[in-house]
């Protein structure tokens, strides 16, 4: 009984933490609008941008996912097929975009497409849409096609690692004898047949999973849309920008309808997409035997010229926006001429700061406090939720375990903006004084990261041999002693990975923080970058200061991912 209560409390606390603010926010929005969530979806057309935002969200997400596959599949194929020197470094370089905070990605792409930037200097003007891009826009008759292209390229850049991580291992670990056997058949002589009859069935689930996850990330994109496609609205961006007026009785009720309907529609789409991806991944895990990737790679041999060029281009593509962002923090455009000067002034200003805008040390301190708080809350809650699921599984309550597992994943179907608005409006109902509470942003960050902690720890808990625990009992250890002396050391690598990922995610989190900081007083690094970029640029250092701040954020995030990666690669891990 005591054990059951012990298991139940953290699970209940976690569910309260994630569900209560959202339920109260829903209730408040329903009270203000007088419609239920489904009705609100049908009323989205009452907002001037509602329908356009829905259409654009779907179209750009599908196009982004398609483009990502088109760019990512050849790279994944080449990486998986051939024996590469320093494959670890190549993989790390190609993974960097995916772990980059979205606001940093936006700054990197802005630095690349801006007037006088790299693309503009070779005649590709995606910002002002002149020259080739302008002609293309006129030809296809799509307004702001340059902005859309920039957004799609940024989404593809951001999600390239997803395709590689989903597809490449499948290619590199497939036993070569399978393909050889297929080649022996008459149907296997043609390359096209091998592609459609052999590789497509083998890779289908990985490719579709990559497509779905890229779709999800593009569907809920905010920072990239905000900065690269300023005249376009996705549901996420529209809800974020308009959301400040939501939930106020008798004041701009159409905005409350938009937020209620938009969040419901977005939640339904994300849930469906996650359900599809989950089913495919489950199917994939039972399909075929695999071999060591080194064995498979050696069998094919070293890459030829085309794969080499392809992988080099992809690596350059992955690193260029980040490099240009750093460069933009020291290369300053003079206000009244076309010339530039090299200077560290922006860094100096950024570190000294101003009371109106937090300095880098102030914002970094806030970010680190929130990241630390997020780490503590999400690791403790995640650990106990994972432990409860594991215990339920061991006690033969598989269905209940599955239910708790499913509920713990619920925040994955919520975007940052949805969580931010949920916390904002939910907190208003529960305890308005919390608005003034410095630690409030920890709540949405923990809501968003705890599912990842559960996903990292649960497989590791399942792998622990129960004989260790039995041996502890024989030695007369108490439950606490067995936990501290046996379980914790065995789970240490996964706990470090979970902690580092939680902190990194919290540091880079933008959507929820952006919503909450609008009502609070404490800026994080991503919000500071956004605020600086929104500021009238009378002074030529405003944008370089934003770039310097983004650079610091990038470095902090990468440091945490290096820590996580070291523990994951050397000790294994579930996520």
């Amino acid at each position: 009984m005591k054990a059951a209560v012990g298991r139940g409390v953290p699970v209940a606390l976690y569910l309260v933490l994630i569900l209560v603010p959202l339920i109260l926010a829903l209730e408040r929005l329903m009270f203000v609008t007088g419609v239920n969530p489904i009705q609100a979806i049908l009323h989205l057309d009452e907002h001037p941008f509602g329908v356009d935002a829905v259409v654009f969200t779907f179209v750009q997400a599908i196009l982004s996912a398609t483009l990502t596959l088109m760019l990512g599949l050849p790279i994944a194929w080449w990486l998986g097929r051939y024996e590469w020197k320093r494959i670890g470094i190549i993989r790390a370089a190609l993974t960097l975009p995916f772990v980059t905070p979205t606001v940093v990605a936006a700054m990197g792409f802005l630095a690349m497409i801006k007037q006088g930037g790299l693309l503009d200097s070779i005649g590709i003007d995606l910002r002002n849409e002149t020259g080739v891009v302008g002609s293309f826009s006129s030809m296809i008759g799509v307004e702001h096609s340059g902005h859309i292209i920039a957004l799609l390229l940024a989404h593809a850049w951001f999600n390239l690692a997803l395709v590689i991580r989903f597809v490449e291992p499948k290619i590199s670990t497939l036993p070569p004898r399978y393909e050889n056997a297929f080649r022996m058949l008459p149907i296997g002589h043609s390359r096209l047949n091998r592609l459609t009859q052999f590789w497509w069935p083998m890779l289908r689930t990985s490719i579709l999973s990559a497509f779905v996850f890229t779709f999800i990330f593009s569907f809920t994109s905010f920072a990239l849309v905000r900065w690269l496609a300023p005249n376009m609205w996705t549901l996420e961006a529209l809800m974020a920008v308009e959301g400040g007026a939501a939930g106020i009785p008798g004041y701009r009720v159409d905005v409350s309808v938009l937020v209620l309907g938009g969040a419901t529609l977005q939640g339904l789409v994300l849930l469906s997409a996650l359900a599809f991806a989950g089913r495919w991944q489950q199917k994939q895990s039972n399909e075929i035997e695999l071999v060591s990737e080194n064995f498979s790679r050696k069998y094919i041999g070293k890459p030829t010229t085309v794969p080499r060029i392809g992988v080099v281009v992809a690596t350059v593509y992955a690193l260029t926006p980040l490099f240009l962002m750093v460069l933009s923090s020291v290369r300053i455009r003079n206000r009244t001429s076309e010339s530039y000067r090299w200077s560290l002034d922006a860094w100096d200003y950024a570190f000294r700061g101003d009371l109106t805008y937090a300095s880098i040390p102030e914002a970094l301190t806030n970010s680190l406090v929130y990241a630390g708080g997020c780490l503590v809350v999400s690791c403790i809650l995640g650990f106990f939720v994972a432990q409860s699921i594991h215990n339920l599984e061991q006690n033969g309550q598989a269905r209940f375990a599955q239910l708790v597992d499913l509920l713990s994943m619920l925040p994955l179907a919520l975007s940052g903006v949805m969580v931010g608005l949920g916390v904002l409006l939910g907190i208003l109902k529960i305890w308005p004084v919390l608005f003034s509470w410095y630690a409030l942003p920890i709540l949405p960050h923990a809501m968003l990261t705890t599912p990842f902690v559960v996903r990292i720890l649960l497989p590791a808990m399942r792998e622990i041999d129960s004989s260790y625990d039995d041996a502890g009992k024989v030695l007369g250890y108490t439950t606490m002693q067995r936990f501290v002396r046996i379980k914790l050391p065995l789970l240490k690598p996964q706990i470090v990975v979970a902690a580092a990922l939680s902190m990194a995610f919290s540091l880079g989190e933008f959507g929820a923080s952006w919503i909450l900081m609008r009502s609070g007083a404490w800026d994080t690094l991503p919000v500071l970058v956004d605020q600086l970029m929104s500021r009238p640029k009378y002074f030529d250092l405003v944008e370089p200061i934003a770039m310097a701040t983004a650079t610091i954020l990038m470095c902090m995030t990468f440091l945490l991912f290096v820590i996580a990666e070291r523990f994951r690669s050397h000790q294994g891990g579930g996520f």
């Binding site: 012990g6 409390v9 953290p10 606390l13 001037p48 941008f49 802005l110 801006k114 007037q115 930037g117 910002r127 002002n128 849409e129 300023p230 005249n231 609205w233 920008v241 308009e242 400040g244 007026a245 106020i248 004041y251 701009r252 159409d254 455009r333 003079n334 206000r335 009244t336 001429s337 700061g353 101003d354 009371l355 109106t356 503590v376 809350v377 403790i380 809650l381 904002l424 208003l428 308005p432 004084v433 919390l434 608005f435 003034s436 509470w437 630690a439 709540l443 606490m480 609008r518 009502s519 609070g520 007083a521 605020q531 929104s534 500021r535 009238p536 640029k537 009378y538 030529d540 944008e543």
Partner: protein
């Protein structure tokens, strides 16, 4: 272990709470003040006059430290006050303008100040002269045009708003949205008056015609002026598009351009009767906010000659002190015409009809 985790969580989620006191009733609003904690929390948007040095000086003079809550613009201040009405976070609202003020007053969001005020420009007191809000800067919102672009494209200098629906102006105008931008809201309000006074056309018909003429609508002034306007300083910035020859800004924006550009500007303000709006920005004590003395001290500090006389340079707005004007340095005043006949719409009417104007505007323009 579970107990330890639980206690940690409880400790982590235990917020500090303030206590309310000093209840009174003014004009059907219950006025409350929370305890004085020696910190003045200001909800504002990006007011550049409030530099680090200026705020530090206030702290040195009064002993009150300052915390800032920043919103996107004046509308964000109102929304923040409305959202947190039950538990106000700020002591002072800084930047509500005369298009938002009446809504704040009607919702009992503000409380009276008791600061000692210097002689103020009578013009600054026209929209509101009560003790619930004090003007701290002012300016006229009007249309700005890129004279060079007009010359290069043989387009005549517009003297009426109706001309802007002509083919010459297709895709060449940028307007910040009145739903999310303070200057946008001011200009939209002026158009209501303009079409009532000057034309048989309805204001919303004009906005619809502008939308059909591919006018660019942006969420904020910054995007309209910096990104789209071809005649402003945005041309030197990153990400400039420059597709609009005309936008909404202040009548003294060309003066600011000249001031920063060594008496050179290609931007000019249009003086069209009733198509400009006298905007006044206010400092006001938040109902339920902190110490009266801190708020009063800040208002007096903000209206002191030392600070307010420098508004044109430090905040790019007019001072509200009596007898003050823009400096003549580098053509600041020369390029800043004062409109002959600004809009005369009252704050009461703005408050009564703004919601329906905004709905009509959004329907007419299909913009945010």
């Amino acid at each position: 272990m579970i107990r330890v985790g639980f206690i940690l969580l409880v400790l982590l989620f235990a917020p500090l709470s303030g206590c309310l006191s000093t209840d009174s009733i003014t004009d059907e609003c219950v006025i409350t003040t929370s305890a004085d904690d020696k910190t003045l929390t200001i909800v504002t948007y990006d007011i550049i006059a409030l530099s680090d040095e200026v705020l530090q000086e206030f702290t040195n003079q009064t002993g009150y430290s300052i915390e800032m809550i920043r919103t996107d613009d004046a509308g964000g201040i109102l929304e923040q006050l409305l959202l947190t009405k039950e538990a106000p976070q700020a002591d002072l609202a800084l930047g509500l303008d005369n298009t938002y003020l009446q809504t704040a007053l009607d919702n009992c969001l503000l409380a009276p100040h008791s600061a000692t005020l210097p002689d103020l420009d009578p013009q600054a007191l026209v929209p509101y002269a009560g003790n619930m809000a004090v003007p701290f800067d002012q300016g006229y919102v009007c249309l700005n045009v890129d004279t060079q672009a007009l010359e290069q494209n043989n387009v005549s200098y517009p003297t009426t708003l109706e001309e802007l629906v002509n083919e010459d102006w297709r895709g060449r105008t940028a307007f910040p949205s009145p739903t999310t931008s303070s200057p946008g809201r001011a200009f939209m309000t002026a158009t209501i008056d303009y079409f009532e006074q000057q034309s048989n056309m309805d204001a919303m018909e004009w906005w619809e015609a502008m939308s059909d003429n591919d006018a660019i609508f942006t969420s904020g002034w910054t995007e309209a002026y910096e990104t789209h306007y071809s005649g402003g300083y945005g041309v030197w910035g990153e990400g400039h598009i420059g597709d609009a020859w005309l936008t909404v800004s202040y009548c003294h924006s060309p003066g600011v351009e000249a001031y920063y550009g060594g008496n050179y500007t290609i931007s000019s303000a249009l003086d069209i009767d009733y198509a400009s709006f006298h905007q006044v920005e206010y400092a006001a004590k938040v109902n339920g906010g902190g110490s009266q003395s801190a708020v009063d001290a800040f208002i007096e500090f903000l209206l002191s000659e030392e600070i307010n006389i420098n508004m044109p340079e430090n905040n790019l707005m007019y001072s509200v002190l009596d007898g003050q004007d823009l400096p003549e340095t580098d053509g600041y005043r020369h390029h800043s015409p004062v409109p002959t006949q600004p809009s005369e719409i009252t704050t009461e009417r703005i408050d009564d009809e703004m919601e329906s104007w905004l709905m009509d505007w959004r329907k007419a323009t299909k913009a945010l």
